[in-house]
Point group: C2
Chain length 457, copies 2
């Protein structure tokens, strides 16, 4: 067997592969809405059939919520646990879709052909790149690729409520040398990326209460404390004049970026003005003396996600509000302990409270930031396979968002993750008219084929 | 005629007076809800009949909204323009009423008899004290009291939209030496109050916008400016460490309280801890080195009345909001120009904006604070009449709220106002189970009788 034979097979059967993906995309597997629960079951069944048809042993595994799909080749030395998710985001606002979201089609656009429909990029199309690589491999070699395990989740878009108990109960059946999570994107159209840093997330809700009830601001304005003003002062004090976060001990434990990574990032074709220009901004507004990429990928942040107090309807009401609340989140990086920071944040808030005010906190999750080693042989194989397939060398990137799954694989299964994928920035994931480039689909399949060859070799 | 004869007439006919008031209270004159427009017309007609039955010439005057009622005694030298309003607040939440709000009744409570029903205190019962005084006067003397004019409004509870044009078009027919506005309360159960200071009101809505759309706080948190944080900093900067307002020039033009008034206030039976304790607070939180009464009555304030940004529903959403808005109001005192302060406030906000943020302002009204002289012969007569009738001497008080009508009388008719009334703090105005003490009603009628005698003398 030569790689070229498998590539030929991929191209000869690409229409059939796209046809299969469209079948998969027709299933309305919206996990967050219980009305679509039957569709999620259907998507899981569909995947079990796919894996089985290639020659993997596969099954649907019930949870408290949507089922998991697991599969494996017959092996006693699993090297890779491949992860994707079959559930998709809701489709509203429906009127902005140019076609029904669950009637996928392949279109020819100025930039090339695309598969359009909900889930095309996030994550059904990405997930299928790996499945299709295995199918082509089997067709050419007659053998199912060895040492693989699969985990396809159906609740990624609604916070993965069943994942942790499932991992805990099935650790043995899921263990592998490393996890391969295919749910991220290219760095740019020609540059594949392996995400090696993920920011964690600490979510806090702060409600400051003053008087027992909303007051008339004429009758009480002056002597009565105003919780909205107190909250504003608390929020205002969270950053200093250099936009550094003032919560005591906040930066403790953070290591500076390795010089090599820093150099690689400086070499990336990333223009902060372009990046911000797309959303109507022009200047990086984060920590002084940090690049925009560092601000997103390797530095922690504190953001206000919501504010609510008093009268917010049309017109005006001269109310002195009884309470004011804010949703505040911190993106965390490796070395920061979310629980220590939560305690320190809450102590800071309390220290800013005047007499006559009380505060209540609600906990909206706490996950640490993480970094994955790039020196693992499988990671090196992935990087080499990606670099061979794509015009530019694969880069090690950060990710400003939080992908808790990687953290759970580390803490429960004890394995690191390699996060990569072939999405583009204009894929409209979570938005109307989601699409996945056929180029991403084809080159994704080819990338995994190169990886399978390296692992087999 | 002796005063005692009129007092006897008042007591002999008190049941009939209460009966008339209950008839008036049965009319559902809710001005803010167009469904009750016919009831407002009915209330106006009822008042025209009342005034006419005493011997005044009276009429209903149409406006763009609810009609005005005007009336006068035949005179060429009007001394007093008496003002009250016949419209009432909505009645919701209806389930908290212990009786239907428009089925008034006289009840005996531990503190004495009360008239219970919507509008009993605000303002139908208060308005009728003056009408009943005139009726008793006429019954005893055979003459309608001279030199009086009446203006009864039907839109006070919905912002008086028709008042300014009506005053402008009818200035001649409404002019008098002074206005007497009967829509306020006693200082305490035994101490009548003449309000000589009203705070003005400047209402501003500030919307700070950063990015073009709500952003993912993982993908953009760090380099993208967060308008909620910017807004918090703007609000936080509005007060200094002594709780003084930092808007440049804000305190310009304010005169200190006359020493005599200051002394009178210090002598009042006002306990700040009690006042704040009723709403769950304990410490005056306003300007350093000012008493709580000064904070409410004679000092300007800046309050946040509403805050809104990002996600405010249940749970958490890691959105970086595109915009954040606040409703902010200033209570103003004599000497402060609302328009100068608006300009200065907006300039302050703009000075706090980082690059990449813009701001939009909405104007929610601007009225100046005012003080009325206490040396006018009619004001002296009112004070003397009140002092004679009530256990304690009438005091000159401030009012933290804003009564724009007094400002309009000054600016359009060129006359000062005397604001007084007989409401108690526990009257539940604007709330379920509104009531007016029969004691207030009777002593109010007697107070006005004493005033009529002084004016006639």
């Amino acid at each position: 067997m030569s790689l070229q034979q498998v590539f030929d097979e991929i191209d000869h059967t690409l229409d059939a592969s796209l046809h299969r993906l469209c079948d998969f995309l027709r299933i309305q597997s919206i996990s967050t809405d219980p009305a679509y629960r039957g569709e999620c079951e259907r998507a899981a069944d569909w995947l079990v059939d796919e894996l089985t048809s290639i020659g993997f042993s596969a099954g649907k595994r019930q949870t408290e919520g949507c089922p998991m799909v697991t599969g494996e080749s017959s092996t006693t030395a699993p090297r890779i646990l491949f992860y994707g998710h079959y559930d998709v985001q809701p489709v509203d606002p429906l009127d902005l879709w140019e076609q029904p979201p669950f009637e996928p089609r392949v279109e020819t656009c100025p930039g090339g052909r695309v598969i359009r429909g909900r889930g095309a990029s996030d994550d059904k199309g990405q997930l299928m790149t790996f499945v299709e690589a295995c199918r082509a491999w089997k067709a050419v070699t007659g053998e199912v690729p060895e040492n693989l395990r699969f985990l396809f989740e159906g609740e990624e878009e609604c916070g993965s409520p069943s994942l942790v108990p499932f991992l805990q109960q099935n650790a043995d059946r899921l263990s592998a040398e490393t996890a391969l999570i295919c749910d991220t994107g290219l760095f740019d159209r020609n540059t594949p990326a392996i995400v090696t840093m993920l920011r964690g997330l600490l979510g806090e809700e702060v409600t400051v209460t003053g008087p027992d009830m909303d007051l008339h601001s004429g009758m009480y304005g002056g002597p009565a404390i105003n919780p909205a003003r107190v909250l504003a002062r608390i929020i205002s004090g969270l950053h200093d004049e250099n936009n550094r976060i003032t919560v005591p001990g906040f930066y403790d434990g953070i290591e500076e970026l390795p010089a090599a990574v820093h150099r690689q990032w400086q070499g990336l074709d990333f223009d902060a003005a372009d990046f911000l220009g797309q959303v109507g901004l022009s200047l990086p507004a984060g920590e002084k003396d940090r690049s925009a990429l560092e601000m997103i990928w390797s530095r922690p942040t504190c953001e206000v996600n919501g504010l609510n107090s008093g009268y917010t309807g049309n017109g005006f009401k001269t109310v002195l509000p009884a309470s004011a609340s804010a949703k505040i989140s911190f993106r965390l990086v490796l070395g920061q302990c979310p629980f220590t920071i939560r305690n320190s944040f809450r102590a800071y808030v309390k220290s800013m409270l005047p007499e006559d005010c009380s505060v209540a906190f609600a906990d909206h999750g706490a996950s640490p930031g993480c970094r994955f080693p790039t020196s693992h042989p499988i990671c090196e194989a992935v990087q080499a396979a990606l670099t061979e397939e794509w015009p530019n060398e694969a880069v090690f990137a950060g990710c400003g968002g939080s992908i808790p799954i990687a953290g759970h694989f580390k803490s429960i299964l004890g394995i690191d993750s390699i996060l990569t994928g072939f999405g583009n920035d204009d894929d409209c994931i979570h938005s109307p008219n989601e699409k996945y480039d056929v180029r991403s689909f084809r080159k994704g399949i080819r990338s995994w084929t190169r990886l399978l060859a390296r692992l087999a070799g």
